[in-house]
């Protein structure tokens, strides 16, 4: 009862057919978008998510010499006039490739709600779950030649990006330990047996869907099985491995979970994966803020530097948007435990690549900390609108949620200074 060529043979067959000039159903290898370089390549997004709320004052918006500045000092960067915290000497060397926004505002000061906002562009809503930015891009810019997940979350961390009302199939594919062996990816039985199992599965699924067709389709059970099978047999899985990378490259990123995650992110972009988030947790410094942020910087600084340098070297930066942000910033005032608390007004992020303007500085916070509102406040939704439209998707596009409610992907407007 074998209905098709065994899975393992499929690739061989496809390639032979391509060799005979019959591979019209498949894009020729050199035409694959993943192999293109420069600005014409479809854009990908890498979000370095700093979970816990990084302090703007200890990263991209230091105010040394002011009461609110604490013990953090600042250094010059490749951008004339721009100073960042001195814990980021390597970032200072590449920051001209990105832009700095110092005036992000959010109205969510709770981790769970804050993460929701900066991952979806919407405030939590009790009636529906919005899709994360990566899920929107994976859905709208789906690449049929990619057999591995097109939305990936690396390094664990709380609340990985979700597909929300677009469906769990757009949930980020989670890899807790990037660069290590992928789990559950090999069938470990002979092709003939795998084939007959799949044939059996087709028949059993058919029985179940009879009279429940709409409900069974809604489950997407078969779709996920098919995608899993395609993934199991894909060469593209190599993008998840780093064993072919030199020791010096791995060291450049930093041999941490986050560093390896950034390296894998670059490789996934190279393979054509649409959206990747790499999470670095540990920024919630209610106590010992300065020491905590120094430790975090030791991980973030080399990884960010290596990522930007590498993307440039591979000619991928023009087609890769890099976004570095957390769910909120931290208070200008230092609390009695030498910590800073949650601060959703006037926090910072880095964004660039993918054809966005580079080297811009947007917004400013009050160095005295008296004025809560920053100059030129930027809403998360505006940042999202910028990224979404730069990736060739209509940011205000309305989609109908499963309960029939029309909902725009994003309610912001693109930031003119970045496009």
């Amino acid at each position: 009862m074998f209905t098709g060529p065994p899975i393992e043979r499929r690739r061989w067959l496809q390639q032979s057919l391509a060799g005979l000039g019959l591979g019209f159903t498949l894009p020729a290898l050199d035409a694959r978008s993943a192999d293109r370089r420069g600005p014409t390549r479809p854009t990908s997004l890498i979000t370095l998510f700093l979970a816990g709320g990084p302090s703007q004052l200890e990263t991209w918006d230091p105010h040394p010499g002011h009461r609110i500045g604490g013990e953090t000092t600042a250094i010059e960067t490749r951008l004339k006039g721009l100073k960042i915290a001195s814990d980021y000497p390597q970032t200072a060397e590449i920051i001209n490739e990105l832009s700095v926004i110092r005036s992000l505002v959010s109205r969510e000061g709770d981790h769970q709600r804050g993460v929701y906002l900066v991952k979806t562009g919407y405030r939590p809503d009790r009636t529906l779950t919005h899709p994360s930015l990566g899920a929107i891009l994976a859905k709208e810019r789906w690449d049929k030649t990619i057999e591995i997940p097109q939305h990936v979350s690396l390094g664990g961390g709380p609340r990985p990006a979700r597909g929300g009302f677009l469906g769990a199939q757009y949930d980020a594919y989670k890899i807790y330990n990037p660069g290590q062996e992928l789990r559950n990816i090999t069938a470990r039985i002979k092709d003939a047996r795998q084939d007959r199992r799949l044939e059996g599965l087709r028949v059993v699924s058919q029985t179940f869907s009879r009279g429940r067709l709409a409900a069974t389709r809604g489950t997407q059970h078969q779709l996920m099985v098919d995608r899993a099978l395609a993934m199991m047999n894909s060469d593209q899985l190599k993008a998840f491995q780093i064993d072919d990378e030199s020791r010096s490259t791995i060291d450049l990123y930093g041999d941490s979970r986050f560093g390896r995650g950034c390296l894998v992110a670059r490789k996934l972009v190279e393979a054509g994966v649409r959206a990747i988030e790499v999470t670095l947790p540990g920024w919630d410094t209610h106590t010992n803020n300065f020491e905590g942020h120094r430790e975090q910087a030791a991980t973030l600084d080399p990884a960010l530097f290596a990522l930007i340098t590498d993307l440039k070297q591979y000619d991928l930066l023009d087609s890769t948007i890099v976004l570095v942000l957390g769910e909120f910033g931290r208070t200008p005032t230092v609390n009695p435990l030498d910590g800073r608390d949650h601060w959703p007004q006037g926090f910072s992020c880095l964004v660039g690549g993918g054809g966005l303007a580079a080297g811009r500085l947007l917004g400013a916070t009050d160095p005295t900390g008296k004025r809560r509102k920053p100059d030129q406040p930027v809403e998360i939704a505006d940042l999202f609108a910028t990224v979404i439209s730069r990736m060739g998707v209509e940011f205000g596009k309305e989609v109908i949620t499963p309960i029939g409610r029309p909902m725009a992907y994003c309610e912001g407007t693109p930031i003119p200074g970045l496009l």
């Binding site: 009862m1 000061g109 709770d110 809503d125 009790r126 009636t127 779950t129 997940p149 469906g167 769990a168 199939q169 949930d171 594919y173 989670k174 789990r183 559950n184 990816i185 090999t186 069938a187 470990r188 047996r193 007959r196 199992r197 044939e199 059996g200 599965l201 028949v203 059993v204 699924s205 058919q206 029985t207 179940f208 869907s209 009879r210 009279g211 429940r212 067709l213 709409a214 409900a215 069974t216 389709r217 809604g218 489950t219 997407q220 059970h221 078969q222 996920m224 099985v225 995608r227 899993a228 993934m231 199991m232 209610h286 106590t287």
Partner: protein, 594 residues
């Protein structure tokens, strides 16, 4: 056609083969520590060198055995519940009232409900909802053999009496009460908490009494596990009264007012910041020291204004129903009395909605912690059930009986299709309308612990319960933990609806546990079935289907998979059965409730 369910006559040989004696093997292993403990006198004769080597080893063995027993044996107490026949029939009356309400709604909305589901399918739903696993072949056979009237009612009672109910259901309810966060210390305390809660459920303690104990508990987290409702809210050495206020309202009243923590609720004018602060003030005196949880009544709730930096004292205050708030007593006791007051309709609605969600996989009103006000026409069924729940002493077992006996719970998952329809399928929009009116049983993804529970159960044939060997129970415990993590644990959001994902498909297809469970071997179901049905392929396939899906194969299935078994013997036959199990494990029918 879906295969017929009963088919009792086709498999009696298999039945006799797979009926098992309930052996008490566990006790043999358990006695081991005693034997070891009684050995010291003879040790005098042994050289000191040997002694030094043996004692640490023994300690490790004893420790491990104790650990395995502690894990596998939860709940520790074997509480037997008197069967309350009268209650069951009263629950039936409530179910009838409920059915009338649904019938009325269906007529109004011009919906014809689905046909009744097979009773074996309803048993599968019950078993998944109450034990987190599918019925074993052993149980299915007993169910088929039960020819007396009202067998579903009796089996509901039987499932409720089984200690697996208390253990499983306490885990589910516990999600709302203490969350599912990780951490070794919390995990230990959470375990104690679940053991306590499961004892309450086994004893059918009224829900208001359980809640009162949670809110007012004092003492050490080990001695009085209910205090862990409080200790779980510990943030930086202090008990965070705001965390407790939010959780209290979500878990016990089904309302979400957390947004009002910092400001008046933007979208829901019912909740003000003052409401939240007033509720948090009830928990302000709570402290957690090495002596345990108690109240320092001298402490008042002080709030610092972010804008002005000034502080003010907030008195305990409730957002509504202040006339039910007693004036006497400690703040926590007053809060508990207000929460559980019989006039506080939200209290009963919240638990009724949550239990409904556990039974169907989808709460009556979603999300589970954001209910409309009592009396809202959309949730009139909740009011109706709540009213009877109150008059039945707020016993959860009674509530489960009532829901299990209701018509929506017993409908087929295939919707009714009008006769004049072009196809035999209902279009998606229509299906959604039927689902919303509970006129068809919803096809919903099983939660991870149900998928793994079902896999473990089917791979063993015999019922895995407290009579099972310690090793079996321990394996179930550990396998479940890691599988649930990989499958994607939704934590306290587990009552939200989801589609399947690639990682889940990969885990079912290639995961180590699934592979090991169906691998031919001395103790597995695959080998047992392959050997026992040698020479009867139809019986072999039928048994596999019954074990995994609780039904017989359809003609198509028989034709395709029957061939795998043709002319096989020994190892080849075992591998064919393994392939059948793999296929059934990966089918939507296995991992979706229907």
């Amino acid at each position: 056609m879906e295969g017929c369910h009963a088919a009792g006559d086709s498999t009696p040989q298999a039945a006799s083969l797979f009926y098992s004696h309930r052996c008490q093997n566990g006790q043999t292993s358990l006695r081991q520590p005693d034997r070891l403990a009684s050995s010291p006198p003879t040790l005098e004769n042994v050289g000191m060198k040997l002694l030094r080597r043996v004692i640490p080893l023994l300690l490790v063995v004893v420790g491990l055995l104790a650990l395995v027993q502690a894990i596998a044996g939860r709940p520790t107490g074997d509480i037997s519940t008197p069967r309350r026949l009268a209650d069951r029939f009263e629950a039936k009356q409530t179910a009838e009232r409920l059915d009338a309400w649904f019938q009325d709604r269906w007529t109004r909305e011009q919906i014809t409900p689905a046909a009744p589901a097979h009773e074996a399918t309803v048993l599968r739903r019950l078993s998944l909802a109450l034990h987190g696993t599918v019925p074993s072949l052993e149980e299915l056979r007993q169910f088929e053999a039960d020819a007396k009237k009202r067998r579903l009612e009796r089996w509901t009672q039987r499932l409720l009496d089984d200690s697996r109910f208390a253990t499983y259901f306490s885990e589910r309810l516990g999600r709302a009460l203490v969350g599912a966060e990780e951490g070794p210390f919390l995990a230990f305390r959470r375990d104690r908490f679940h053991a306590w809660l499961s004892e309450q459920l086994a004893a059918n303690r009224p829900w208001d009494r359980i809640v009162t104990r949670l809110v007012t508990a004092q003492g050490l987290p080990t001695g009085e596990p209910a205090t862990n409702f409080i200790t779980i809210a510990q943030v930086d050495e202090e008990i965070d009264e705001q965390v407790l206020a939010g959780r209290t309202i979500r878990a016990f009243l089904g309302q979400r007012i957390d947004c009002a923590q910092c400001h008046d609720h933007f979208f829901d004018p019912r909740w003000k910041q003052a409401h939240f602060e007033g509720l948090a003030a009830f928990y302000a005196p709570v402290r957690f020291s090495p002596l345990g949880v108690d109240d320092n009544l001298a402490v008042q709730f002080e709030v610092t204004d972010h804008e002005s930096g000034t502080s003010r004292v907030v008195e305990p205050r409730v957002p509504f129903g202040s006339e039910w708030l007693p004036s006497e007593g400690t703040p926590r006791r007053r809060l508990a009395q207000w929460l559980t007051d019989r006039r506080n309709l939200r209290f009963d609605r919240a638990i009724v909605n949550r239990v409904w969600g556990q039974m169907f996989g989808r709460p009556f009103s979603s999300p589970v912690n954001d209910l409309p006000d009592p009396g809202d026409p959309a949730t009139a069924a909740l009011d109706l059930l709540s009213e009877d729940f109150r008059s039945h002493n707020r016993e959860l077992k009674w509530l489960i009986h009532a829901i299990a006996a209701s018509r929506p719970f017993r409908l087929d998952s295939r919707p009714h299709v009008p006769h004049d329809s072009q196809t035999l399928e209902l279009p998606l929009e229509e299906l959604r309308r039927h689902e919303e009116a509970w006129a068809v049983f919803p096809v919903l993804r099983l939660r991870p612990e149900q998928v793994i529970g079902a896999m473990l159960q089917t791979a063993s044939i015999k019922t895995i319960d407290r009579h099972s060997h310690l090793f079996t129970r321990a394996r179930r415990f550990f396998s479940e933990q890691s599988f649930v993590q990989d499958y994607g644990d939704l934590g306290d959001e587990e009552l939200s609806e989801q589609t399947g994902t690639i990682p889940q498909a990969l885990l079912r297809m290639n995961g180590q546990l699934a592979r090991e469970l169906i691998k031919p071997g001395a103790f597995g179901a695959t080998t047992a079935i392959a050997r026992a049905t040698q020479g009867n392929d139809r019986l072999c396939l039928g048994t596999c289907f019954e074990v995994c899906l609780g039904r017989q194969p359809s003609d198509d299935e028989q034709e395709v998979m029957g061939q795998w078994l043709a002319d096989t013997r020994g190892r080849r036959r075992e591998l064919a059965v393994e392939d059948i199990f793999w296929t059934l494990f990966n089918s939507p029918e296995f991992s979706w409730n229907h």
